[in-house]
């Protein structure tokens, strides 16, 4: 009759829980957490990026004892946190231009090393536009040189700050200001765009991972692991955007969860160019459950709908499930 397994009611899924030993709770459950991105910032209600930035930087700063500098690409995160002369950052933070966050971070790391402050670590961050499109050459160079930087991309799948234009991370079928829901193939074209995490893996850098704002324990573990490694590292975090996705502000975390549970956003880890782990899907859902609450996909369900396009999205999810074995441990 004795239960040998420890069981804590909500255990490893909730942020904390009074029953969990302190070392098993997340950094976000710590009332003394740093709040690297503090209150008063001007992100929209329910912003996934603001949430992810605090998650990542609190965990990274904790992992390196606060000796951390961050470099920011242009984008929502930069704009909403630092309208001059105000700053919501509670750590050293540097912004240059849209394209060069990876290069600036490389330079900061080099500078710290040559001045004997190699104990101070560097974290670069940007949105999907600044990372996947505009800053991509700089990022690839940083990877190639294996500079000692953790680059974090907060992926909300379009240029939200300038009015929701398509980026290289916008998924097929999604409506943006530049891929309108008109014509035979409404929304963004299928088969274009970039899978930044796979491209990063192809650079054979020490560590690449993906995560979402819905799996906090997983996200924090990946940040800790990244900070324990020297060299070029890449973390790609899915951050739903209520404004650009046309979703309720309270749905941000749920949508990230559904993206993972449908297989559309695989949550994985790779070391030295080899995929080493994938978060298994717990309770698989059809992609429709993820697409329906988002107005950027409303044209797929209006009137008779476009089941053919929903099926194309489903095929992408199925492909991910096969590629990473997402149903291996639990289905």
């Amino acid at each position: 009759m004795t239960q040998t397994a420890k069981f804590y009611q909500v255990g490893s899924r909730a942020v904390g829980n009074r029953l969990l030993p302190l070392d098993q709770r997340t950094e976000q459950a710590n009332p003394e957490r740093r709040n690297a991105l503090t209150s008063g910032h001007r992100a929209c209600q329910g912003c996934g990026e603001a949430l992810a930035a605090r998650y990542v930087l609190d965990a990274a700063a904790h992992a390196v004892g606060g000796r951390l500098v961050t470099v920011n690409a242009t984008g929502c995160l930069e704009v909403f946190s630092t309208p001059y002369p105000e700053s919501a950052w509670q750590l050293p933070w540097l912004h240059s231009v849209f394209a060069n966050a990876a290069s600036v971070a490389s330079g900061v790391a080099a500078g710290l090393r040559t001045t004997g402050r190699g104990d101070i670590r560097v974290l670069a961050q940007g949105g999907d536009g600044g990372t996947v499109d505009i800053g991509f050459a700089c990022l690839s160079g940083m990877f190639e040189r294996n500079d000692d930087v953790l680059y974090v991309c907060y992926d909300n799948q379009a240029y939200m700050n300038t009015g929701v234009q398509r980026s290289g991370a916008t998924p097929g079928g999604a409506r943006t200001a530049t891929t309108e829901a008109v014509g035979a193939e409404p929304g963004n074209l299928f088969g274009i765009g970039k899978d930044a995490a796979r491209i990063a893996i192809a650079h054979d850098i020490p560590y690449v991972a993906t995560a979402t704002v819905a799996e906090l324990h997983d996200l924090e573990a990946k940040v800790r692991k990244a900070m324990s490694i020297r060299g070029a590292r890449y973390l790609h975090v899915l951050v739903p955007c209520p404004l650009g996705w046309g979703s309720a502000t309270s749905e941000t975390v749920r949508l990230a969860r559904l993206a993972q549970r449908s297989g559309l956003f695989p949550v994985i880890e790779a070391e030295g160019g080899v995929v080493t782990s994938a978060l298994p899907i717990r309770g698989r859902v059809p992609v429709e459950e993820y697409l329906r609450p988002q107005r950027r996909y409303a044209h797929l369900f209006r009137g008779e709908g476009r089941p053919d396009l929903v099926a194309r999205v489903q095929r992408l999810a199925d492909q991910n499930i096969v590629r990473y074995g997402l149903l291996d441990e639990e289905s």
Partner: protein, 542 residues
């Protein structure tokens, strides 16, 4: 410049920007009504005592439990646990084993010798309780806690009522009952046993009582006219159960027929098996779907070899055999005779057709009205006679120990108000229990239900020992932690974590949170990601 490394702007400067101005809705922490508590006839705050048990604070859990019910060890054995039927976790995997945790706490209290909290300072008021069954004892306990002097009169030799005389020992060992009742005597309840009250007003006047509670139960077994031969044995279930409870072993013969479909019928049939009957057959005139007996009792009876004859009535009782008539259900679901008959072997027939209230005492109370065989009471459980209250099986109710304990508690509260010359507390506003859809169940760990050990069926029929065992500590803790805490914060820190604006504050020293309205933009993420639905979004006044 006295600033941290590499920082040129003042840090925290964005704090001047009160983004809470954007808000059109604000999150509010609420305490919803958990369905278990809603369903509990005894009014137990189940979620509250499970919460205490979840971190191993068993004594606090027990103390929370006994605020509403002084008999956890008894309840953890005999209650038909409507709480578990209502439990939201049933939709996730299976209901929380509330009853088994209750029993664990009750047994732990007995082992550890925990005492009930002391009574409040004496009020100088005296209350007469007639009947030492679950209703009377529950009321006596609550009244005593409030500082009143309570005298319980009962015609029997020992207190307990149906818990002692109606429930077989294989479901409720008597030492457990004795210990839980003894705690009431320790608390200062005065027991006057072998003391049948025959004239209520006279007893109240002689004893100087300010109020009285009639909790006499329903002790008269209902009879049915059965054409029976001279040599046939027809008994009633209560007297069989009562004599077995007194330590006798009445010989019923090798084939025993029990007539009726309630829990008493199940207890009688299971008792007959233990008294040596090779064949114990329950005859019931309707189908299983309409049977009033609890499903668990039926299953236990079947496991012990009891047979059931559905859709049958007893037409005649002969010597060693009976004549049964087959029934059929009409469109309204009522049994109708078919004119087809069959024989069934039976040395004795035990009638379990329900019980009636003994009116002899009631007729002495002026103003008290009896309607349909039970005492008429108002919302505060007062009869038509001022200061005379009634509860338990003697008033309109579902008849169970749990309902009676709830009646006792409610009557005690009403009597207390009456003694203080106050209006009875307003009926609590009926709230809807927290629905399953109000939870975010993603966060809960998967956990199958723990099952209590049971005595092997082969060993049951030759012993009156307890059939169902208790949980050990690890398993009870596991079971308590399966609680979803519906509608009530359990300190998971989700709201603290998921706020993009750091606008949730964890308050010191406890698992409580507050919203920093200077910065809360009202996005609703905290409410959406709260596992137990304890946060509500409320519109701001425009």
């Amino acid at each position: 410049m006295n600033k941290p490394f590499a920082i040129t702007l003042d840090v925290r400067s964005s704090l001047a920007n009160h983004t809470g101005m954007w808000r059109s809705e604000r999150p509010v922490y609420t305490a919803g009504l958990p369905p278990c508590q809603h369903a509990c006839p005894a009014g137990e705050h189940v979620q509250a005592w499970l919460y205490a048990a979840e971190d191993g604070s068993y004594e606090s859990a027990w103390r929370r439990l006994v605020q509403d019910n002084p008999f956890p060890a008894v309840m953890g054995r005999v209650c038909y646990h409507p709480c578990e039927t209502a439990c939201n976790r049933a939709e996730l995997d299976s209901a929380v084993g509330i009853n088994s945790v209750e029993r664990f706490l009750g047994d732990r209290a007995i082992d550890a010798g925990w005492r009930l909290p002391d009574a409040a300072p004496a009020t100088g008021r005296r209350v007469l309780v007639v009947g030492a069954g679950p209703c009377g004892l529950s009321a006596a306990y609550q009244l005593r806690r409030l500082g009143h002097e309570v005298h319980v009169h009962d015609a029997g030799e020992e207190p307990g009522g149906m818990m002692r005389h109606g429930i077989p020992t294989f479901r409720l060992p008597r030492d457990v009952l004795d210990i839980e009742i003894a705690r009431l005597a320790d608390l200062g309840v005065t027991f006057c046993m072998n003391s049948k009250v025959t004239d209520l007003r006279e007893t109240m006047r002689a004893g100087g009582f300010d109020a009285a509670l009639i909790a006499i139960g329903a002790q008269l077994s209902r009879r049915a006219y059965l054409p029976a031969g001279q040599a046939s044995r027809v008994l009633d279930a209560l007297s069989v159960l009562g004599s077995v409870a007194d330590g006798e072993r009445p010989g019923l013969g090798r084939a025993v027929v029990v007539y009726g479909g309630g829990n008493t019928a199940m207890d009688a049939a299971r008792t007959a098996r233990r008294l040596g009957a090779d064949d114990a057959v329950v005859v019931y005139r309707r189908t299983q779907a309409q049977m009033p007996a609890d499903r668990q009792e039926l299953d236990e009876a079947l496991a012990e070899g009891v047979r059931i004859k559905w859709l049958r009535t007893i037409a005649a009782v002969g010597e060693g055999s009976l004549t049964l008539e087959k029934m059929t259900l009409d469109e309204a679901g009522l049994p109708q005779p078919t004119g087809e008959f069959e024989e069934l072997a039976g040395d004795a027939v035990v009638l379990a057709l329900g019980q009636d209230v003994d009116r002899s005492l009631l007729d002495t109370v002026p103003g008290l009205r009896v309607v349909d065989g039970v005492i008429e009471v108002d919302e505060a459980m007062m009869t038509g006679s001022p200061g005379v209250f009634a509860g338990g099986d003697a008033v309109p109710t579902d008849r169970s120990v749990t309902h009676s304990i709830g009646h006792g508690r409610r009557a005690a509260v009403a009597i207390d108000s009456w003694l203080r010359r106050q209006d009875p507390p307003a009926q609590r506003q009926e709230r809807d229990p927290v629905p399953y859809s109000g939870l975010n169940t993603w966060y809960y760990s998967d956990a199958p239900r723990s099952v209590r050990p049971r005595l092997e069926a082969a060993r049951r029929t030759d012993t009156f020992g307890e059939v169902v065992g208790g949980l050990d500590e690890d398993t009870a803790l596991f079971e308590a932690r399966r609680c979803l805490s519906c509608g009530n914060c359990f300190g998971c820190d989700n709201c603290l974590g998921v706020c993009p604006d750091n606008a949730v504050i964890k308050l010191d020293g406890a698992n409580h949170y507050a919203i920093d309205l200077d910065y809360c933009k009202g996005c609703g993420l905290c409410a959406a990601e709260c596992p137990c639905g304890a946060i509500e979004m409320v519109p701001e006044e425009s």
